[in-house]
Symmetry: C2
């Protein structure tokens, strides 16, 4: 088995497939990202999406609003995007300013354009294994499991983290009756007692806590497979800062049978999965 | 702690509260159950619902269709019920005849009248802890946990079974950040390896397999709490048949710290939770 589960070969394949399908069919998929207020991190993320989209033939544009936009104004803007036949995916950059009701806004996005997979209808479709949009991060994990042929059936998989966008959808996906499912799934979180003992029994650990290097090498079972979803910025003496995952990568490397690096692991696949969802939305809209 | 977690005292309370609220406010909630073809078991279940509903002031009626009803006809009938302001809850008795597309039919029921909580929108709402309908069986389990003041926070809870109507919603509910949530949840099923070892570590076991007496006393941890969702009919030398749960009740009784009986446990609370959902639907529709 490959030990270092790097994103590069699989995203190369995904981007190549996307490009071919879009060009061969003359598709013109378009994603609109709603940005509220200025946020350098969000803008960096969006620039990356624009660049990646361009490579494969997906137009990615932003709609920037002032931080004082009202709930009603924002709902009206989303309605416009919902009814615009040239827009196939609509994404809302978070976090939103406090005066906005996020729950109502997420509900407003047409589920068929909800490429983030955050609308409750898509969450329900995910749980019930119905057609719908799967959030990019857990979808990226499935893609890695598939690409590296990691068996999940009957395996003890521990998911650390119960967020709406990673932990919970991840757990539900791993319970599906398919090639990346059929796992015995345990979900741990901040309230979990004896976390170390539970992680120790995991054949596969999926860390999605957002806490730098939280999972130590000695917590892992020998030969475990580690999928590290965390992307955390920490101080670095030389470079000022650098990115690390939720798991001690170097210290764990000799102990595990496979592990995703950070950066260059799950995070890199996430963008590809989002663009894949935009193409899917395009095909939904155009039959 | 009470050892025998019987439904009686809590359903007595629920029915009394329902009755008071309905009479005091002059409410007239109505549930319509769609029955397709004749099925003695379904009719028995419905008769029980009619009786229980009558006691608290909820009208329960059935719409019986022939087994050869077409998909289009059934969808039209559901549309009528959706737009009937005097109908607050719509339930579809399963299983459906094979020629019908269950998935499309479930989607057709107005989510605001979906008192079963099977519509993907309600499933998503459940996962995201948004307002919506929770399926009666997992809701009954929560009610028992609450009534008997069983602490779930940080506890290892093993859910056996991953069905759409019990196992999966149960697991998601136990992850919520509230008084019956915050648990470390493991979901086991037919593909689980070392099931006995996993059950052995559970402080709370929720059995929802539908397999008579599948969980043996010696699989349980000493002092575990057992919530038995199974209601299985087995042969009985004297009575012809009797009902048992998924767990060996008698053999486990001395070992556990608490256990729900079958019958008289979860199953009895389920009907009460369904009627509670009908009242909720009534209040939704009438503001």
């Amino acid at each position: 088995m490959t030990k270092k589960l790097i994103a590069k070969p699989l995203i190369k394949q995904i981007y190549a497939d996307l490009k071919t399908e879009i060009i061969d069919n003359g598709f013109a998929p378009k994603l609109v990202i709603i940005l509220i207020g200025e946020d350098p991190a969000a803008e960096y993320y969006v620039q990356n999406l624009v660049k990646k989209g361009k490579k494969v033939g997906i137009e990615v544009t932003t709609k920037l609003f002032n931080v004082d936009i009202t709930q009603t104004q924002l709902l009206t803007e989303i309605e416009k995007l919902n009814s615009d036949a040239n827009v196939h995916g609509v994404m809302l950059q978070k976090p939103l300013p406090k005066h906005l009701d996020e729950s109502e806004i997420v509900m407003k996005i047409n589920p068929q354009k909800d490429v983030d997979g955050f609308h409750p209808l898509n969450v329900g479709n995910l749980v019930l294994d119905r057609e719908g949009f799967i959030p990019s991060t857990p979808n990226a994990v499935l893609e890695i499991l598939k690409y590296y042929e990691i068996e999940t059936s009957g395996k003890n998989i521990v998911v650390i983290g119960r967020s709406d966008i990673v932990g919970k959808p991840m757990a539900n996906l791993l319970l599906r009756k398919n090639e990346t499912g059929n796992a015995t799934v345990t979900v741990c979180h901040s309230r979990t007692q004896n976390l170390s003992a539970i992680i120790k029994q995991a054949e596969i650990v999926i860390a999605a806590i957002g806490n730098p290097l939280f999972v130590k090498a000695d917590m892992l079972k020998d030969g475990a497979i580690v999928i590290d979803v965390g992307v955390n910025q920490i101080e670095d003496a030389k470079k000022g800062y650098r990115y690390v995952g939720d798991v001690e990568y170097e210290a764990s490397f000799d102990k595990v049978s496979a592990i995703t690096p950070v950066p260059g692991g799950v995070g890199s696949v996430t963008t590809a999965m989002l663009l894949k969802n935009v193409l899917k939305a395009y095909k939904l809209l155009h039959g």
